[in-house]
């Protein structure tokens, strides 16, 4: 067999050889054929992956009709490709195709395909045949398109000849082809069509031909035609002008452009004309551009400014500057803006003078322009304006400083900062410090540190803030030092904030904790609270000991900091201390938060029991019950049942008992049964009573759909990223087309569904009774709307009725908690659907005509979504 001739760069290493590509990939290598036998060549073609034998392909093409397997077409096109570098093969192939084209029995579908091939491989030889096909309505347009692509006069003549008899849309097509071919010989016949129903097509074609004769024909046409055609004629003339300019006939082009420029009512033509004149006349078009700069029409002004950017030279700037003096206010503004965009250095002085203009718009434009034109010395002027100016002038000056600063180097800024501090220019100094921080210029840290120590007031505060952003871990002791040496509350807070920010960047515990512990030794009691707060971000026995000491100490603020730190402790090593504080702390607030902390950490029924005597207030009872509900032991259930007789919290106690019962019914039937009996004794509402009953009979009532750890039970449609983090399903969107959907494995009919969600970005939804589709959305059905801003907990049918139930405007604002967890319950019984969010009913549809069963699904709609779901569960069927 013939081996492929290498066609690529010498290394060729980047290409995988044919056999290695997976899937339905049949790479086609170019084949170098010189004087080889056609049969061999066709066999070779077959070896290199044509889907079928050429002989078979041609056979099938003879009878190919729409709806059949397109393999023969694909195979033949591959042969056309292969014959690109083999004239003899190409000739033979073309002849075979033409023969099939001529056979009367060949279906139109096949003829259409052959005509498309002839677009590429047809020659003069085929023109006569194609010309006759122009007279056959079913294939005429395909034949025309083939002729359109065959270069040379024969095809052009055939198209011109066809004009005589062509009718309807086909006739328009012939005119279009003539235009595309830029057939000069067609100008006269086309010109004759201007007064006929073919006028628009003919005018367009003349525009494409673009010769001087075509332009002249169009001009004559304008004089003779009704006004409806005036626009079309002008567009076509402009096209001619462009073609003439490109061909080097600037004079003819110019004439057309000037004419168009004068069309006061049609800004579009004036814009096109201006663009054309700038191309043909270059710098000489400057006066026209400048005049257009101050035209009343904003589009023309905008176009002029865009074109003005093309004039790079100093002469243009000079013209602009000389105009500047004489121009009126509006024109001055336009010129200043153009100069600023061009960054013309020569403009700096005149524009600086104009910052004192009495015309407000001019003054503001000048101030703004200094941002782009100015240099370091300009900064002084702008700083003065920013400090002393008022209103718009002050604001503009600040923005100009920002722009100018963007163009300054960071080292330059440091120098400027030193100068500003020296001269006591506080406002400027602060701005420079903020900019250095924004630029993350870490080299400035030593200077900032020094200023933070030696300066006071605003400068010190700004330095501390910047250090928070820029400092490295080894600077931590310095920041702690600033806390210790802070002179007032504001400084102390700024120093603490900076240290906190830096601490979050320090990865090693010893680097975080060491300097703090060191500072604690001998620290002034007034500074201790800050240090404790910083220490409280870590845990461990050493820090626990410190907290314990200060929590029982005499200094009030330190005590407070220590107790709060303990209450937030991440692990239960603090539990005993918290229990003690809950009982014995002096301040009621401390007792309360210590109790809450203890409840959060306790974890077991035994520990919770120890706190039971302290549970007095209603809020505490609620927190206690919530903590019990998480401690999945029979002892916890027993404790919870005690509150069934407490009027204050009976409802919550029932729910806590039910939740515990669901978790325990599999392992502790008897305990559950006893507890449920107690629940039933309180005569709760039916739904709860049913659950209690079921549980007492040993049946689960809640079926979790998400196990808190894995995506088991859910399957993605392949778009978007779903993962489990912190006991929640997290969805992150992608930019691929379509929606990222996570379907439940099972389908559901009637249900009570509960879930929690938090959305940080993008639009999402929780689908109910949905179906899977192979469309770009991939899903169709009702979804509970999830959005960072609006319409949450409404029902929207994707791929269907769109909004089915938009949430009422009368819902309280707090029905949705942005950037926080929201509780949703959906009840679907037959055609009755309700949605409740955070206790507020958002949807109540008694008779929805939609589907009555389907999948649950979590959905991300489009790119950039960040959404989380947890505690997804359904109530078991009774």
């Amino acid at each position: 067999m013939v081996s492929p001739a290498p066609v690529f760069s010498p290394e060729g290493a980047c290409y995988i050889s044919p056999g290695q590509r997976p899937g339905n990939r049949r790479p086609t290598q170019p084949v170098a054929l010189k004087g080889r036998n056609i049969i061999l060549a066709l066999l070779a073609a077959a070896a290199f992956g044509a889907t079928m034998e050429p002989k078979q392909a041609f056979e099938q093409l003879r009878s190919y009709d729409y709806g059949q397997d397109i393999s023969p077409l694909v195979a033949i096109e591959a042969l056309v490709d292969q014959s690109s570098n083999a004239a003899a093969q190409r000739k033979e192939l073309t002849a075979q195709l033409v023969a099939i084209l001529q056979e009367p029995k060949t279906p139109i579908a096949a003829k259409q395909f052959i005509c498309r091939m002839l677009e590429r491989i047809g020659t003069d030889e085929h023109v006569p045949l194609l010309a006759t096909l122009l007279a056959e309505p079913q294939i005429a347009d395909d034949a025309r398109r083939a002729l359109e692509q065959i270069p040379g006069d024969a095809a052009s003549a055939a198209l011109r000849d066809a004009l005589a008899k062509a009718q309807g849309d086909f006739r328009t097509g012939v005119i279009n082809s003539i235009g595309e071919r830029r057939d000069r010989k067609a100008v006269e016949p086309l010109a004759k069509l201007i007064g006929t129903p073919d006028a628009k097509a003919a005018i367009r074609a003349l525009g494409k031909i673009g010769t001087a004769e075509a332009a002249a024909a169009l001009t004559r046409g304008r004089d003779a035609s009704p006004t409806e055609l005036a626009e079309a004629l002008c567009h076509a003339q402009l096209r001619c002008a462009d073609a003439l300019a490109a061909a080097g006939d600037a004079k003819a082009a110019d004439a057309i452009y000037l004419d168009a420029l004068g069309q006061k009512e049609h800004v579009l033509f004036r814009i096109a004309a201006l663009a054309g004149l700038v191309k043909t006349r270059r710098e000489k078009a400057a006066p026209m551009a400048i005049e257009a700069l101050t035209d009343p029409n904003p589009q023309l002004r905008g176009a002029a400014r865009a074109l003005a950017r093309q004039f790079a030279g100093k002469e243009f700037a000079a013209s602009l500057l000389s105009l500047l003096k004489k121009a009126d206010a509006q024109a001055q503004v336009a010129i200043i803006e153009t100069l600023a965009e061009r960054r013309d250095a020569a403009a700096l002085e005149p524009v600086t003078k104009l910052t004192e203009s009495l015309d407000d718009p001019v003054r503001l434009a000048a101030i703004r322009a200094l941002g782009q034109l100015g240099n370091r010395t300009t900064l002084d002027l702008l700083a003065r304006l920013a400090a002393e100016g008022t209103g718009a002038a002050q604001q503009t000056a600040k923005e100009a400083i920002a722009t100018l600063r963007e163009r300054s180097t960071s080292p330059e800024m440091v120098v400027a900062l030193a100068g500003a501090v020296n001269k006591g220019e506080t406002a400027l100094a602060v701005e420079l410090i903020d900019s250095l921080a924004a630029r993350r210029f870490r080299d400035a840290v030593p200077m900032l540190n020094s200023f933070a120590s030696r300066q006071g007031g605003e400068v010190r505060l700004a330095c501390l803030k910047a250090l928070g952003a820029l400092a490295e871990p080894n600077h931590f002791p310095f920041l702690i030092d600033h806390i210790l040496t802070a002179k007032d509350e504001a400084e102390a807070k700024a120093a603490e904030d900076a240290a906190t920010k830096l601490a979050s960047r320090i990865t090693r515990r010893t680097d975080r904790v060491g300097p703090l512990m060191e500072a604690m030794k001998g620290a002034d009691a007034g500074k201790v609270p800050a240090l404790l707060r910083l220490l409280g971000r870590d845990s461990g026995p050493d820090i626990l000991a410190v907290m314990r000491k200060w929590a029982g100490g005499t200094h009030e603020a330190a005590r407070d900091a220590a107790v709060r730190a303990l209450a937030d402790w991440p692990s239960d090593e603090a539990a005993d201390d918290l229990l003690k504080l809950a009982k014995e702390a002096k301040e009621p607030t401390h007792r309360a938060i210590a109790l809450r902390g203890y409840l959060r950490l306790a974890g077991t029924a035994k520990r919770l029991e120890q706190a039971a005597p302290l549970i007095k207030a209603r809020e505490d009872k609620l927190a206690f019950l919530a903590a019990l509900a998480e401690a999945r032991e029979p002892a916890a259930l027993a404790i919870a049942t005690r509150y069934l007789s407490d009027d204050q919290v009976r409802a919550e106690a029932i729910l806590a008992c039910l939740k515990l019962a669901d978790a325990l019914v599999g392992t502790d039937k008897e305990a559950v049964k006893a507890a449920m009996q107690k629940v039933l004794d309180t005569r709760p509402e039916k739904a709860l009573a049913d659950r209690a009953q079921a549980l007492s009979e040993g049946r689960r009532t809640i079926v979790p759909l998400f196990d808190g750890k894995t995506l088991s039970g859910w399957a993605s449609n392949g778009i978007g990223k779903w993962s489990v983090e912190g006991a929640a399903i997290v969805g992150n969107g992608t930019h691929k087309p379509g929606y990222g959907i996570l379907f439940s494995e099972k389908q559901y009919k009637d249900f009570t569904l509960r879930f929690k969600y938090k959305v940080l970005a993008g639009n999402a939804g929780f689908y109910i009774r949905a179906e899977k589709l192979p469309t770009s959305e991939g899903v169709r059905g009702l979804q509970v709307e999830i959005d960072p801003e609006k319409d949450n907990a409404g029902l929207f049918e994707v791929g269907g009725r769109a909004w089915v139930a938009k949430p009422d405007g009368k819902l309280p604002k707090d029905h949705f908690k942005p950037r926080d967890w929201n509780d949703v319950e959906v009840v679907a019984q037959g055609r009755h659907l309700t949605v409740t969010m955070n206790g507020h009913k958002t949807v109540d549809l008694p008779n929805d005509p939609g589907r009555t069963e389907g999948f649950f699904a979590l959905g991300m709609h489009g790119g950039g979504v960040h959404v989380m779901f947890k505690d997804i569960e359904v109530l078991a069927a009774p």
């Binding site: 339905n24 694909v74 490709d81 012939v174 097509a201 096109a272 803006e337 920002a402 379509g738 770009s776």
Partner: protein, 431 residues
């Protein structure tokens, strides 16, 4: 010790606010309302339109699609959005079948062009002739000639034009290009571009015998300038039309355009000198799908610069990778990597070239409309990114090394390849 939800360190939001945005030169017209029409309300078009619905001073007043259900759904979406917050003179959104009616409206200042690829060029040129600005989905069309015609019309009529290559509004891509442009990678040697291709296969696998045209679907208008063939739903069921030559060159162009655009943004030399181009490809043959499947192309420049462009993994990984003497950077959606890694911490200096800063592609377009300036993906960028993929397809079909001059925009003596630069349109449609 029982594990409780850990109280984590609060990640401080670093004071790294972006440098203040340069105040636009022309604030006038900042409050003028911009009326927008959507041409093509399928998934992409509607998605793009959503990005306009939130913009200040913008009103979507018209939607157009050849499928009644889609245009009605889009209209409902718009009307529901504006709902109670519409201004007094907002008359509601209209739904049209024929895009020309949208272009005829005086209250439409800009159009979103999002039909199938074979329609882009006609709509862009008619929109330009009607004095509209436009946000046009990529690629610009289905032939090089179409891309040129769009470019000429936009510049000729001074229209504001945003190509839907939204990666330019993503900071990572801008960062990668600024590193490449400013010599932080040293002299650029190779640009490697990878895009998906074969991973998209038709969803419909059944028989393809002609079907009756569904009610409410103007199939004649859907086909437009493409060859007329009997309807079957496989022409539209996603990703259907993307894989059919009649409506789309193929992902070598339709997807490749995104990362080719980044390649050009970071390495303008790719369009500054004549180059040689070679490409191998294989073609689809499943149901109605027949355009390019996988490909591998090389662009070689006299200076030694090369661009490799392939479907993912063969050999180029997805995204755009700039390789220079002193390092490389590889950027894709949602990721950027570099060697040395410190390149990603580079602080740019005042003398450095900074690329146009956009954080939101639609907002960037609206601002450009008001200022009459170029948005971040102007027509020349869309043109280059679109037609380079088309050239690769041509090279694959003619199976020989081609020479292309990007300044004169022509092949060096290759009549067959030259023919493939244009695609005739079905009557009565024309550019």
């Amino acid at each position: 010790m029982a594990a409780v939800s850990r109280r984590g360190f609060v990640r401080s939001a670093a004071a790294a606010a972006a440098a203040p945005f340069i105040l636009p030169a022309a604030a006038r017209g900042a409050n003028e309302r911009v009326g927008v029409g959507l041409l093509g309300s399928g998934g992409q078009g509607t998605g793009v339109m959503r990005g306009f619905l939130g913009q200040q001073g913008v009103q979507v007043v018209a939607v157009c699609d050849v499928q009644e259900g889609r245009r009605n759904a889009a209209r409902t979406l718009v009307n529901n959005h504006y709902g109670s917050r519409a201004e007094k003179d907002y008359k509601g959104c209209e739904a049209y079948n024929d895009f020309r009616e949208v272009l005829a409206r005086d209250d439409v200042d800009a159009v979103i062009i999002a039909p199938q690829d074979h329609w882009h060029a006609i709509m862009c040129i008619r929109a330009a002739e009607a004095g509209k600005d436009m946000y046009c989905e990529k690629p610009l069309g289905v032939s090089v000639r179409e891309c040129q015609a769009i470019r000429d019309a936009i510049r000729g009529y001074g229209r504001v034009f945003q190509t839907g290559t939204q990666q330019r509004s993503d900071r990572r891509f801008r960062q990668a290009c600024e590193l490449a442009r400013n010599g932080y990678l040293g002299k650029l040697r190779t640009v490697k571009v990878g895009a998906p291709g074969p991973s998209y296969q038709p969803s419909y696998r059944g028989p393809i015998a002609p079907e009756p045209v569904p009610k409410g679907f103007d199939y004649e208008m859907f086909v437009g300038p493409a060859p007329m063939k009997p309807w079957h739903r496989a022409r539209l069921d996603w990703p259907g039309w993307y894989l059919i030559w009649d409506y789309c060159v193929g992902f070598i162009c339709n997807w490749g355009v995104h990362h080719l655009d980044i390649a050009h943004w970071g390495c303008p030399a790719l369009a500054a000198a004549p180059f040689e181009l070679a490409c191998t490809a294989d073609y689809r043959n499943l149901g109605l799908t027949d355009n390019v499947n996988g490909w591998s192309a090389e662009f070689a420049y006299p200076s030694g610069l090369r661009m490799l462009f392939s479907d993912n993994g063969h050999p180029c990984a997805q995204g755009c990778r700039f390789e220079g003497d002193e390092g490389w950077v590889h950027v894709d959606r949602g990721s950027i990597a570099a060697d040395p890694p410190s390149l990603l911490q580079t602080a740019f200096q005042p003398g450095d070239l900074r690329l146009q800063h956009s954080d939101h592609h639609q907002a960037d377009f609206v601002e450009a409309v008001r200022k009459r300036s170029d948005p971040v993906s102007p027509v020349e960028a869309g043109h280059l990114a679109s037609y380079y993929g088309m050239l690769a397809d041509i090279a694959a079909r003619v199976r020989r090394r081609l020479r292309w001059d990007p300044i004169a925009e022509r092949f060096e003596s290759d009549p067959e390849a030259t023919r493939l630069l244009s695609r005739p349109m079905r009557a009565p449609w024309t550019l």
